[in-house]
């Protein structure tokens, strides 16, 4: 009986498959060689443009961190304000600041950086339908050109924060050519050490060195920002040499040391806390709130839920922030103290029934809720957990219908000054006062702080407010989070920026 030689057919198929793999491997090696450090720096990033490069959105942070877009001032890696596209600034009136532009700066398309270009770029952002919190008509009333090299920023009320605001990527400056269509076009529209040459939505942002950069040419000739949603894959890309930097890695990725890769873990200005509704029983009694604070073990939470990649919170701020209270420390767990506080408040632990809200957008919060439930359960308190999307919890929380909610909150999203955060979250009329905390003395302190020009005095007032919030357990501050980036040892000069303004800088260079 004659048969088809299926074995031979399968062998041929296997050979063809091996051939394809081999060809692919050769092509990949060739690609990897062309992308070797020194030529191209590849960054595997989580986010690309999500809003048509609208500068009032987080897209501005992508352009800034890619080394393309610059602002009038620069919040440096140590948190201080440094000259950017403006070389100096002065408060000419309580409501007005004048910025003097750097001379001889050009956009990558050859247009000069002058006051008209700066005003056009800033006004477009200011007049957006949904402007950025750092640069909205609430905080900036007008931007105008005084002369070719001077830009005046006017505020509706006296403000000392304007130089800080002008360092936010939301106030980035692009060439007038960038604002022609339905969406902004960053191609050859920046002044930074690198300029965008190609934007492939949802895939890659390609940049080239700006040879005429006012700060001197960068070390790398090209940069690629590749959008890779999966964190494990981003980390693998650094290990294989496909990328040199992988950003925003969770604690579960690259836990063990890897040869030729350094993991940079840095504090971010984000604190996860248990927000208690101060306006209703039982949490309108400071002793009950303090009892809850004493019953929770933030060290254990950091070690378990966050697998060691968070630290116990010392209040609303990072311990090394200039506005943190001196000697701020986490509250240690003390069940005896918690029982005593509840007894003093006349509350039996067994009688306490708390509904704890957690939202789904942050994957760790339901786990954290379970740990809080267990720890309060040791005291005899019954906690029920409700997990839902933030949007569905928000109306009830803003209306004050809740008891307690877990929230991960970044307290410095707009400017490196906590005034806006404290105003929104802890003043009687605050726009995001989900603690429903209202104290006239605190309101007065915050109002005084945000109009105080002298930084030392301003920071001292912030510290006093922070100490009160912590001591009175207005909110139970649990853990402060860390961000992890993986960087190939073939790159030198990498530094984590506290506010994620910069990843690629002119100082990044191939290691020798």
């Amino acid at each position: 009986m004659q048969t088809i030689d299926l074995g031979r057919a399968l062998r041929r198929l296997a050979m063809a498959g091996t051939g394809i793999l081999a060809l692919a491997a050769v092509a990949e090696r060739a690609g990897a060689q062309s992308a070797a450090p020194g030529g191209t720096l590849v960054v595997a990033d989580l986010f690309g443009s999500r809003a048509g490069w609208a500068l009032e959105t987080d897209d501005a942070f992508v352009l800034s961190s890619a080394g393309c877009m610059e602002m009038l001032t620069r919040i440096d890696f140590d948190g201080t304000v440094k000259p950017g596209l403006a070389t100096s600034w002065v408060q000419t009136a309580p409501n007005a600041w004048d910025f003097t532009l750097r001379e001889g700066v050009k956009f990558a398309d050859g247009r000069p950086l002058d006051a008209q270009a700066v005003v056009g770029s800033l006004n477009r952002t200011l007049r957006a339908a949904a402007p950025a919190r750092s640069f909205s008509p609430r905080v900036v009333s007008e931007v105008a050109a005084i002369d070719a090299r001077t830009v005046r920023v006017t505020t509706p009320a006296p403000s000392v924060l304007v130089p800080l605001r002008m360092g936010s990527p939301n106030t980035g400056i692009l060439s007038p050519a960038a604002f022609q269509g339905e969406r902004n076009n960053p191609v050859r529209a920046c002044t930074g050490p690198f300029t965008v040459v190609e934007d492939v939505p949802r895939q890659v942002l390609r940049l080239e060195r700006n040879p005429d950069y006012w700060g001197g040419p960068a070390q790398y000739a090209r940069v690629e920002f590749r959008i890779v949603p999966d964190a494990q894959v981003r980390a693998t890309m650094v290990q294989t040499g496909e990328a040199q930097i992988a950003t925003i890695l969770p604690g579960t990725v690259l836990r063990q040391p890897v040869r030729n890769v350094t993991v940079h873990a840095a504090d971010v200005t984000r604190v996860t806390s248990l927000y208690l509704n101060n306006s209703k029983p039982p949490f309108n009694d400071v002793r009950v709130r303090q009892a809850i604070q004493a019953a929770l073990d933030s060290s254990a939470i950091a070690a378990s839920v966050y697998e060691g990649l968070a630290r116990p919170a010392v209040g609303p701020f990072l311990p090394n922030a200039p506005w943190a209270p001196a000697g701020a420390a986490p509250v240690g767990r003390d069940l005896a103290k918690a029982r005593a506080l509840l007894a003093a408040a006349g509350v039996r632990p067994e009688s306490l029934r708390i509904e704890l809200l957690a939202y789904t957008e942050r994957a760790e919060l339901p786990d954290l809720a379970s740990v809080v439930q267990a720890q309060l359960g040791e005291l005899g308190i019954t906690v029920t957990i409700r997990v839902a999307a933030f949007a569905s919890l928000e109306p009830g929380v803003m209306a004050g219908n809740h008891q307690a909610m877990l929230l991960s909150r970044n307290h410095l999203t707009d400017v490196p000054d906590p005034g806006a955060f404290l105003t929104a979250d802890y003043t009687c009329r605050g726009a995001f006062n989900i603690s429903h905390f209202c104290d006239a003395a605190t309101d007065a302190k915050i109002a005084e702080a945000v109009t105080t020009a002298e930084a030392e005095r301003r920071f001292a007032l912030y510290a006093e407010v922070a100490a009160k919030l912590h001591q009175d357990a207005v909110t139970v501050f649990l853990v402060r989070e860390q961000q992890r980036d993986a960087v190939s040892n073939s790159v030198r000069g990498y530094r984590s920026h506290l506010f994620n303004h910069y990843i690629v800088t002119r100082d990044l260079a191939p290691a020798r």
Binding site: L6, L21, D58, R138, E182, R183, V233, M237, T413
Partner: protein, 315 residues
């Protein structure tokens, strides 16, 4: 036949209308406000200025009654204008078409690879049922069906990208970047197609016309190709069409893990970023394609096998 085609076309239109209504209504069914959600997706901040919410609502035309928004959208969609993405500000039609093309390349490549393995393997297994190869095929296909893509994909990356260094981990920028996602995406259809080929060939091999062909002295290979394959391939084509309809809608797991900008990732990100025009157009396109492919498959049956026409009332 024509009556049948017209009836199916009408059903298809009704389905698309229903899907477009659902796609429009779903974002409004929850407690949340789509505009607040959209702003949150654009800025990493929970505290949102109410004035900004209302400003954006007006700018996007979301302050109008839902019925007015829907009819406006439907009118434009019928002319091929699906509007502009809330997030990228790019044309939704062009964005969906681009993603669809990528998913189509991925799906067709994966199915061709699956077919190239499944046909010979299934036929070989059917030639000696109960034999060693048949046993291997049974275990192999069961394993492939059981292993999920969210496990296979990271393992594939670890082996072929990290340890062997043969293939890139992710991306859509070179032919090499196609190999791993296509290979992993092909495994499950490969398993099903192999089993269907085997079962179908077993049926065919027992048929009198095969016996007749063999008794006329036709070689086994020629018999299989001329008579066996032609008749046994129909269930394989049916399954292939179903897989194609499914995969054209994109594989979320594969496209997210391998950073491929196809339909699955597009719709997934549209949900996350609350990009309503993109979500609506994406869902309608996926359903339209699935219905279109299924209708085309049904019509193909009728063309191939006239006996089916009377049972479908197509005469």
């Amino acid at each position: 036949m024509v009556r049948f085609a017209v009836r199916r076309a009408l059903i298809m239109l009704a389905m698309l209308l229903a899907v477009s209504m659902l796609a429009f209504a779903v974002p409004y069914l929850g407690d949340g406000d789509p505009v607040r959600d959209l702003i949150r997706a654009r800025v990493s901040d929970q505290a949102i200025d109410p004035a900004a919410v209302e400003g954006l609502r007006v700018q996007l035309g979301l302050d109008r009654p839902l019925s007015v928004q829907y009819l406006d959208w439907l009118g434009r969609a019928l002319t091929g204008d699906f509007g502009v993405s809330f997030t990228s500000r790019l044309s939704v039609g062009r964005t969906v078409a681009g993603a669809l093309m990528i998913s189509a390349i991925l799906a067709v490549s994966a199915l061709l690879l699956a077919l190239a393995v499944a046909l010979p393997l299934g036929m070989a297994a059917a030639l000696r049922p109960g034999g060693l190869l048949d046993g291997f095929v049974t275990v192999f296909t069961q394993a492939l069906v059981a292993l999920p893509e969210y496990w296979l994909a990271p393992v594939g990356i670890l082996v072929f990208a990290l340890y062997l260094g043969w293939l890139p981990s992710a991306g859509w920028n070179s032919p090499a970047s196609l190999v791993l996602p296509v290979a992993i995406l092909s495994l499950r259809p490969m398993a099903y197609l192999t089993r269907v080929t085997r079962a179908s060939m077993l049926d065919v091999l027992d048929s009198p016309y095969i016996l007749a062909a063999r008794s006329r002295g036709l070689a086994m290979g020629q018999t299989l190709i001329r008579h066996g394959l032609r008749n046994g391939i129909i269930p394989v084509i049916t399954l292939l069409a179903l897989w194609l309809a499914g995969l054209l809608g994109g594989s979320v797991v594969i496209e997210v893990i391998f950073a491929i900008p196809g339909m699955g990732r597009l719709v997934y990100e549209a949900v996350i970023e609350k990009d309503l025009p993109l979500l609506q157009a994406g869902l309608v396109s996926i359903v339209a394609l699935a219905v279109l492919i299924n209708t085309a498959t049904d019509l193909l049956y009728l063309a191939i096998n006239p006996a089916l026409r009377s049972s479908h009332g197509a005469n």
